[in-house]
């Protein structure tokens, strides 16, 4: 029944469980499929919000400062992340440009914003803001499409490809991006579904 707030399903195999407040403090897996139902990190909310805020601020550094600089003899070329995004400019390549912008900047930023909006009140023991649950849902659903960490591996490959022909210098945006990727990985490891969802579903007055 919907009034039973302790009931939880395993999203993988549909098994039904009862998880009470005490159960949320210890990690537990689904008995049928082994899915990690509870990560057992009840204090993770503050860290997740902190990660999201820090990563969002660093993202501004990423967008507005130089990313990489390439020097070959007397020639120098400098690329910001926006230049990378706009690399596919010719006609049919434009949609690809927009997708790259979404994958590496917009969607990661959107996730940080959704997480902050949904969980910030819980950090200060306030009731969730309207739409907090929908906001948290988007943070989860966008996860596979936010590809900052994949972009970073792409950068590493490109650096190796170019190392023979030119000298490369990393700009502030490069290091900021590395920090965003690390923060993001740290936050995702703390995102215990049971804990986060119970934070946005406090009973309304």
């Amino acid at each position: 029944m919907s009034r039973d707030n302790d009931l939880v399903i395993c999203p993988v195999c549909d098994s039904l469980y009862r998880v009470n407040a005490a159960d949320r403090t210890r990690p537990a897996r689904c008995g049928q499929c082994g899915y990690r139902l509870v990560l057992g990190k009840p204090d993770a909310i503050a860290s997740v919000v902190g990660m999201a805020l820090a990563a969002a601020i660093l993202m501004a550094v990423v967008v507005f400062t130089p990313f990489l600089q390439l020097t070959a003899g007397t020639f120098t070329s400098r690329a910001s992340v926006l230049d990378v995004v706009l690399a596919f400019q010719s006609d049919i390549m434009v949609p690809l440009s927009i997708s790259v912008l979404a994958f590496i900047v917009l969607l990661p930023l959107a996730r940080f914003a959704f997480l902050t909006y949904a969980l910030m009140p819980a950090v200060f023991d306030r009731a969730p803001l309207p739409g907090a649950a929908v906001s948290l849902r988007w943070a989860f659903q966008l996860k596979p499409w936010a590809m900052a960490e994949i972009f970073m591996v792409g950068v590493a490959v490109a650096l190796v490809k170019l190392s023979g022909m030119a000298t490369l210098t990393m700009g502030p945006a490069f290091w900021a991006f590395v920090a965003v990727v690390l923060l993001n990985a740290y936050g995702d490891a703390l995102m215990c579904r049971t804990t986060l969802w119970s934070a946005v579903s406090k009973p309304r007055p």
């Binding site: 939880v8 399903i9 537990a28 008995g31 049928q32 990378v84 690809l96 790259v100």
Partner: protein
């Protein structure tokens, strides 16, 4: 009515599904509600006790991904113009170039991301969709492991698209050297997106429902 969570990973535990209990669970947030509800009362996600069209959607996205993957391999990914010499490189061509430079590690990364993962993904998704048409006797844990690998690894294929974007943005030395993106970059990106959608359309609950016991 339901198992207590205190049972920590006991494989033999008699598990009841939400569907068997006359309930439907939200796959995003885990909230349980009455069977027949169409939206999750908490996060407003669409609720489906089981997605009857899951396999059709999987096939459709997978075929779209396969169709996009063919031109992605035939046409050039990168067009390099160096001192009036125009050079085109396909995905596999790019890997071979890296081997010639002696960058074996990076060649391996690009080969795995652009060839092994996509091809493996087509095979695994096809295999799962084929097996799950009807009840089966295979170990669901193994099938689920396959599915998880595909879902987790698929997005990493995007590496090569980002490499192209970075090279194009950086290498703009006029007549000395310029790199332009080839049409294969678009096809390859589409192929990755389509196969990601194929993996997401897959209703993992099918793996656990259709075990023929005994």
């Amino acid at each position: 009515m339901s198992n207590n969570i205190m049972v920590r990973r006991i494989k033999a535990a008699p598990v009841i599904t939400a569907r068997a209990a006359g309930l439907v669970g939200c796959q995003i947030c885990g909230k349980v509600t009455q069977l027949g509800e169409t939206r999750c009362p908490r996060c407003y996600a669409k609720l489906r006790s089981r997605d009857g069209h899951s396999l059709q959607k999987v096939w459709a996205w997978m075929i779209a991904g396969l169709i996009a993957y063919i031109p992605a391999n035939i046409y050039p990914m990168l067009i390099t113009t160096q001192a009036f010499q125009r050079q085109e490189a396909t995905i596999v061509g790019g890997v071979i170039d890296l081997i010639h430079y002696g960058s074996y590690g990076v060649a391996a990364i690009v080969f795995i991301a652009s060839v092994l993962i996509p091809v493996g993904k087509f095979l695994v998704i096809g295999y799962l969709a084929w097996i799950l048409r009807r009840p089966h006797k295979l170990d669901p844990h193994r099938l689920h492991l396959f599915y998880e690998i595909v879902e987790f690894i698929g997005r990493w294929s995007m590496i090569d698209v980002f490499v192209v974007a970075i090279l194009v943005a950086l290498v703009r030395f006029g007549i000395l050297a310029t790199i332009n993106p080839g049409i294969a970059a678009v096809c390859f990106a589409l192929s990755v997106v389509f196969t990601m959608l194929a993996a997401q359309s897959f209703d993992s609950r099918l793996i656990w429902d259709r075990i023929k016991r005994g």
